[in-house]
Amino acid sequence: MLKLVTSDIDHDGTPLEALDSVESLLLRVADGDQRSFAELYDRVAPRVLGLIKRLLIDHAQSEEVAQEVFLEIWRTATRFDPQRGAALSWVLTMAHRRAVDRIRASQSSHDRDIKIGIRDVDREYDQVAESVEIRIEHERVKRAMTQLTELQREAISLAYYGGYSHSEVAKILAIPIGTVKTRLRDGMIRLRDEMGVA
C-alpha cells in the first residue's frame, strides 16, 4: 500500500546523479549559480573555517574572515581554472592567505602567544577522535611531520599555522633569515615527498 502512495509523490529526483565534485560546483558558481554556491559552502565551509580558526583562534574573527573568503570565491570563481589545480586547493589557499592578511593587518598580532604557532600538532589530533577518515588524514600529516627535524617543524608551524612571515620567524627563533628560508624549503620538500604530493 505504501508503494502505491509513493508513486503519487511528485519528485524531480534526477536519476542516478553522481555526487557533484567541488570542481563542478565551483564551475557552476562561475556561471552565477547561487544554489551551487550554497552547496559548495556546505561542503567546504567547516574546512575553511577550521583552517582560519587554527590561525586566528578567535571564533568571531574567524567567521568574518571566512565570510571574506566565500565572497571572494563568489566574485572570482570565474577565474578558477581547473587545469591549474584542484578547486579545494584554490579555496584553502585563499582561506590561508586571508587569515594571514588578517593577522598581519592587526596590531594585536604581535601580542599573540608565540606558542600558538609552535604548539604541538598532537594536541590538535587528540581532540578529534571522531571520524575515521579525518583521523587517517591527520595521521598522514602527523606521520609526515615526524620525518622533519624539530627545527624544520618549528619553522613550518610558525609560518603556516602561526601566520608569521619568514622575517618574523627569524626574530622569534633568533636565527638568520637565510636559515629560516632553508628550513622552510627543506622541510616542505621533505613533507611533499613524504605525503606523495608530486
Binding site: 519528485h11 565551509a45 573555517l49 589545480g85 592578511d101 590538535e124 609560518a159 613533507l191
Partner: protein, 276 residues
Amino acid sequence: MATNDDSRMNTGAFALGALSPEELERFIAAAESDPELAAEADGLSATAVLLGLASTPVEPSAKLKVDLMAAIASTPQLSRETVVPLAEVRDDEPSASARVEDARPQPVEAGAAEQKARTRWFARPATLLVSAAAAIGLFVGGGFVGSALTGDTPVVVDQQAAGLAQIYAASDVQSVRSEVEGGGVATLVWSGELGRSAVVVDGLAPLPAGSVYEAWYINDAGAAPAGTFDATGAHKTSWHLLDGTMSAGDTVGVTVEPAGGSKTPTTTPIVAIASA
C-alpha cells in the same frame, strides 16, 4: 644569477605564505621564466594545502551562510574572459551595499599583484594533486562531518558522521535530490558497495510536537523501518544515516510518525526517492 638563486631558496616560504610583498613579486617574476622553480613552487603549495586540511574542521554559525547568501545576491562576479590589469582588481570589490559587515574594520589588504599571485599555481598539471585530492575528496564530501567535531557532540552523532563520511568516500557514491511535500529538499546519498545510505534534508517544515521523521526502505517486500530523526535545531540542514542495509533498487521514503517511531508507516511519505 643572484636573483634567481634567492628565489630558489624562497619556494618553501612562498608556499607557506611567508614572503614579504616585495619578495613575493620578485619570486613570481622569477618563477614565470623558470619552469623548474615554478614546478617546485607548485608542489610545495600543494603540500601546504595538506597542512591546511590537517586542521580540525569547525562548523560555522548558521548566520554566516544566511549572510553570505544575501551578500552574493547583490555582489557582481568578475568577468570571465578579460584578464583584468592588476591595478583594477581592488576596484572590483563588491559595492558597499553588498558588504555584509560594513561597520567592521576591514583588514589592510595585500596589494593586487600579491593577491592575484598568491592564489595562482604556476604550471601545475591538473593531475598533480590527484593523490592528495583523492584523500581530501573523502572528507569534503560531507560538510556535515564538521558538525560532529565541535565540542560536546554525543558519540552517536559522531558515529553517524563517520558513517556519512564513509558513504561520501565510497567510489560508487550516488545522490538524488527531491522536493519534499510541504516544503524543503531531501537528498538521498548512498553507496551500493557499502549498502549504506543517508538522507540529507534542508528546509523542512517544523514537525508537530510529539512527532519525528522516520526513514524507510521501501521495496517489493514492503517498508522496513530505517530509524527516526528530527530536523530541527540551530541548523536547518540535517541528515540521517539510515539504519540497516540498503539493497539495490530500494526506494527510501520519509514519513512523519509519533515520537519513538512506528513499525510500519502510519502516514503518507513526504518524500520518496528511488535509488535506481
